[in-house]
Subunit: 248 residues, 2 copies
DNA sequence: ACAAAAGTGTTTCACATACACCCATGC
DNA sequence: GCATGGGTGTATGTGAAACACTTTTGT
């Protein structure tokens, strides 16, 4: 990428994007029994960032968040939820981080003040195909407990997204988006424990989940694992959608 | 107000405010046993609007919302909560409303596209002193069930704010901001019923509220009313603050 | 005295929690 | 066989809901 390429891109953005309004996406996945967040690394640096960017003039906020994530992951169906908008005048470590960026990422390419609308997303990491762009050279899932050095206030944005996800996870069957099509109750419970940050009583969890009738048992058992083969379950799509739509 | 005055003001805003980012405040009060919203009427029209405006470059979103409401109400302590950001490309009835506006409010003074960060506020209407500005000639409380014709998508913003308030009212003692210092349990119950939109069982409500120990009974009874004089209560300030702060 | 509201107590039920038990499977 | 996790059943406790009873005060 040359300096000219960058300038052309900036010029295009200036004409087609709103000034000072960006969307940042906290994309969650559940991998190896941990809750992970999608992070991007700026080329030639060890500074990471959330996927996001300026809002185009002709698109809604939701569309902007969707476009951003679709470009990165190739997914065409993504659960998205706006959770908070961030607008402090001085956004955290901006100066300290900027000083560590090497050219051509200089301070002048970032606006003086920016408002960021935060969306969190739930994606199935098994279906994701990463794509890079000219500013980044690496896309990776990071454990929410072990985040790298991040630009602006992105760590705070992630933490807020986690709180918001926790608050909603109780009421909504959001695990639908994070698990494979078929799964065992035990796997579902592990996910709930990871998100809520606490152990749950096994038999009670089973009863509570099954009593909602949102799962259906498949005539098939998980094989290969040690000990008793558990049944596999899947979400009933109609039930799931009715549940999600009814809630604020 | 002359055309020059308006132009000067617009010039000042252009220099000191962010472009395309505004804050809209849904200020709730509880008056005559109804939940009310603060609305402004544009001068020379019958079009109403929420208090709000462009975000200044040097202020945070929260400060912007606070400033907006303080200018209107004279209050220096306001409970504010960001609830959602609105960013559709076409914001509802903009064209239809614009066509009804008389000069000097012409289309050219409104940006092509605007993102609006929604805050709801809880205020004690007894302490409010209304102030007008050059664009508006009337400030009034409107029943949330009987809203006037409003600009942009402000009706939708209000409805979303109401939903958000409902969702939080269960968990938080927000009635603190809407009632006078001293009140009876019956008055508190009426408020809860109005916000939640359903009747509550009297004796259970009393027990539930008192069991939280957030109220203290004053050695004083309400006088003048018919029938048995009820005790007066007030919020314990420490309890209230501990409760609000602990929650997301 | 009576009506209506305020305060208190009691019963019932739903549900979450805790825990006990048996089953199935791989080692 | 046995360790381990999976599936089901049972006892207990807590809190919400429904309702009964008593007290108070203006008319």
């Amino acid at each position: 990428m040359t300096q000219d390429d960058l300038n052309n891109q900036l010029k295009w953005l200036f004409e087609n994007a709103m000034s000072g309004i960006s969307v940042d996406c906290v994309a969650f996945a559940y991998q190896e029994e941990r809750l992970k967040v999608l992070c991007l690394r700026y080329r030639n640096t060890d500074i990471w960032s959330l996927p996001g960017g300026l809002v185009f003039k002709h698109e809604s906020l939701h569309q902007s968040a969707f476009r951003t994530l679709q470009e990165r992951t190739g997914l065409d169906s993504i659960y998205l939820k706006q959770f908070q908008t961030f607008g402090e005048v001085e956004r955290a470590n901006i100066k300290e981080v900027m000083s560590r960026l090497v050219p051509p990422f200089a301070m002048e390419y970032f606006p003086n003040r920016s408002i960021s609308v935060g969306y969190y997303a739930l994606v199935n990491h098994r279906e994701v195909i990463f794509t890079q762009d000219i500013l980044t050279d690496l896309t990776a899932w990071h454990d929410i407990e072990e985040l790298p050095a991040m630009i602006f206030d992105h760590v705070q944005i992630i933490n807020t997204a986690v709180k918001s996800l926790k608050a909603q996870f109780d009421h909504l069957p959001l695990s639908y988006h994070l698990l494979p099509k078929k799964f065992t109750i035990g796997e579902l419970q592990k996910l709930h424990e990871e998100v809520l940050g606490e152990k749950l009583e096994r038999s009670n969890f089973q009863k509570k989940i099954l009593s909602t009738a949102i799962l259906e048992r498949i005539d098939e058992r998980k094989i290969g694992g040690a000990y008793k083969s558990p049944y596999l379950y899947r979400f009933k799509r109609e039930k799931y959608e009715a549940w999600v739509n009814q809630v604020f």
